[in-house]
Amino acid sequence: MAVTMTAAASERVKSFLANRGKGIGLRLGIKTTGCSGLAYVLEFVDELNADDEVFEVDDVNVIIDSKSLAYLQGTELDFVKEGLNEGFQFTNPNAKGECGCGESFNV
């Protein structure tokens, strides 16, 4: 399995997808930006691109482009609550360093 999700994450993703009422799944990806070089992408997907791969993780279609896949192998997506704030968190074994805020990383 390329990536995994915690129960909390898959439950939230399913409800957000249902609420949106359209779309074919959830995109995980990386893009080059930020203070430490790479940043995560988390988006709804309406159509697939040519280099996309689709994985079924806990009944959710997870879409990852082939370039990002190399950096995301083995990543776990979690949904956590910190005080009043809640959101998704990536645990990525490929990441070697993160910037102070954790929003970008390098490999």
Partner: protein, 620 residues
């Protein structure tokens, strides 16, 4: 580790630049904040899990309390605890005293900008509102995990310029950027996604704790127009509770006045019974009084009987609002329910029967306005692809300025979508005129005296030129929140003057409707009056121009007879222009034109000769 939200396709942000935004329902009694996260709009709660913040601020010696903690002090320390500040926003002292004569506050400050004396000094309503806004903004920052790009704040549809400006000022004071002020009924319609339809008439029925508002909106190509508003500022769910209390008092054969404690117990039981009867057919009311236990079985049928007169009152307001809007119940496509009191089944039933359609109730009626504001804030902050249309509002009345003869030149017509900016060029009326007064007006009528004066300013430093030679560009701008600014610029020198319109009193909803109605009734007379004024202005201009020419060249170019004929024609024109016969004035202007035609030719020849003096024709 920063927490992430799911973005729309292609709308992921780079780190540290998340476009966080929130919608705020700044209510009279209660306020809420909501935001869209991972595509889902929801209200944000405080650390105790409460989403409703009572709009109450208590000023104490050493601290300022907001919300529930302030509410606790409202009875104990009413002078320093300010409730319902929204009712005071943008109003003059005289206005407040007339509308709410029994407020417990000591007012200070001046007539136009009243404030309330508290232990922390004089506090104005804008400051009170800004405390409520700060509390909600702080909550949103924590819940969303960062600074806000901005907020959308909702205001009643009938809020005038001064009240809207005060709301914006409160946000500025709270240190948050206002992306847009949005009408409350429009926000409710947006929450139900009604803006995605192309057109239709929507009724928004808003029955809160203490107020009732009905708004009739028309959606036209993605733009919500407010056709009419109505309601009752002293009718709400509290009156339902009071009706039940009165019934209990008479059934239990209690003699008023009762102790505060007993009144409170009755009110609590009444409120509980009302809420339970939304889902069951009867409820037992238990009151402990003088070591006795009084009980009573209250049925849904009895409750309905008790509150029916109040519900009927709201329906009468609906009928008036529809009439004002010029539509009938069959034109209404959707009915949106807002406010906690719309949970009462009888209200839903009666509203459904009246409009002959099932009202929309699936979104929590206490939260629906904040949810709509959050959706709009998300779009304005740039989290949606460009294809999603922005919701627009419109100007309720035309905006224009005064021109010669007391006429109104409309620059921005009524129902223009905002934001809008329009410019028009004007010129000077007299030779050597160096200043111009700009008088900004609002209304549909043709004459200044029939419209509402919003502001006046002067453009000075226009270079002395012949009448009609200066080019003065007057620009009217209405920003996204409906606030007007006007500027005037003389093009050759670039001298400029401008004004932001912040009238101390705005128009009441009733005034707007009245002004619109009058413009229709008086349409024909107004146009006649306008044509007459125009001809009179033209006559005065002709007389002045000819007199100036005669003074300059008359001796050189005219015979005595010609001069006498011209003076005679001018005198005739001056006399006729005092009458109200448009055709005659027009004829007299033509007569002057004919008589002065050869004089004009000679002047032209002579000025060409002067220009060519000393040059040969070949040079030209």
């Amino acid at each position: 580790m920063a927490l992430l939200q799911i973005a729309e396709p292609g709308q992921s942000t780079v780190p540290h630049q998340h476009r966080l935004a929130a919608g705020i329902d700044l209510g009279t009694t209660n306020s809420l904040v909501a935001s869209v996260q991972s595509g889902l709009p929801k209200t944000l709660t405080d650390a105790e899990g409460r989403d409703i913040l009572p709009s109450i601020v208590s000023y104490q010696q050493d601290k300022i309390l907001v919300g529930d903690s302030a509410k606790a002090l409202a009875i104990e320390d009413p002078q320093n605890t300010i409730v319902s500040a929204k009712r005071l926003l943008g109003r003059s002292l005289a206005d407040i005293k007339q509308k709410y004569p029994n407020l417990p506050y000591t007012f200070s400050g001046n007539e136009d900008h009243p404030s309330i004396a508290t232990v922390q000094g004089d506090i104005n309503p804008v400051q009170v509102s800004s405390e409520v806004l700060s509390t909600l903004v702080e909550r949103a920052k924590q819940a969303l995990g960062g600074d806000l790009e901005g907020v959308v704040i909702t205001v009643p549809a009938y809020f005038d310029d001064a009240q809207r400006q005060s709301t914006k000022d409160a946000a500025t004071l709270a240190g948050v950027k206002v992306l847009r002020l949005l009408n409350e009924p429009t926000a409710a319609a947006v929450a139900y996604g009604l803006d995605s339809a192309q057109e239709g008439v929507i009724a928004v029925y808003d029955l809160g704790g203490g107020t009732f508002d009905i708004s009739i909106l028309r959606l036209n190509k993605g733009v919500f127009e407010v056709l009419s508003t109505g309601g009752d500022s002293a009718l709400g769910g509290d009156d339902f509770d009071n009706a039940i209390v009165d019934y209990l008092v008479s059934e239990f054969e209690l003699q008023r006045p009762l102790s505060h404690q007993l009144e409170r117990q009755l009110l609590e039981q009444a409120c509980r019974a009302k809420e339970l009867l939304s889902s069951q057919d009867s409820v037992e009311v238990v009151i402990n009084h003088q070591q006795q236990t009084l009980t009573l079985e209250l049925s849904k049928a009895t409750l309905n009987e008790l509150i029916m007169p109040l519900v009927s009152k709201t329906l009468r307001a609906c009928r008036r609002a529809l009439k004002d809007a010029g539509v009938s119940t069959s034109d209404v496509h959707e009915v949106v329910m807002v406010g906690g009191s719309t949970r009462v089944p009888l209200v839903r039933e009666q509203v459904g029967d009246y409009f002959k359609r099932q009202p929309l109730t699936s979104i929590d009626p206490d939260k629906v306005v904040a949810i709509g504001a959050a959706i709009q804030a998300d779009v304005l902050a740039g989290n949606k692809p460009d294809s999603e249309m922005l919701l627009l509002d419109v100007t309720p009345l035309s905006l224009g300025l005064e021109t010669m003869g007391g006429l109104v030149e409309k620059i921005i017509p009524r129902n223009s979508t905002i934001p809008v900016a329009k410019a028009q060029e004007f010129t000077t009326f007299k030779d050597g005129q160096t200043a111009m007064a700009v008088h900004v007006l609002q209304g549909e009528r043709e004459l200044v005296e029939d419209c509402r004066s919003l502001a006046r300013f002067e453009l000075r430093g226009i270079p002395a030129m012949a009448a009609g030679a200066a080019h003065i560009r007057v620009t009217f701008k209405v920003d996204a929140d409906g606030l007007l600014s006007v500027s005037a610029m003389e093009k050759s020198t670039g001298v400029e003057a401008s004004i932001e319109v912040k009238p101390s009193f705005g128009l009441e909803e009733g005034d707007i409707i009245k002004m619109l109605k009058e413009s229709v009734t008086h349409a024909k007379g107004d146009i006649q009056a306008r044509m007459l004024k125009e001809q009179q202005v033209e006559a005065a201009r002709v007389v002045e121009a000819v007199q100036a020419a005669v003074q300059q060249d008359g001796n050189a170019l005219l015979t005595d007879d010609e001069l006498a004929a011209i003076e005679n024609a001018l005198a005739q024109l001056t006399k006729i222009s005092q009458t109200s016969d448009i055709a005659q004035i027009e004829q007299a202007i033509k007569d002057v034109d004919t008589i002065t035609a050869s004089f004009a030719e000679r002047r032209m020849d002579s000025s060409i000769k002067t220009a060519l003096a000393g040059h040969s024709v070949d040079e030209v």
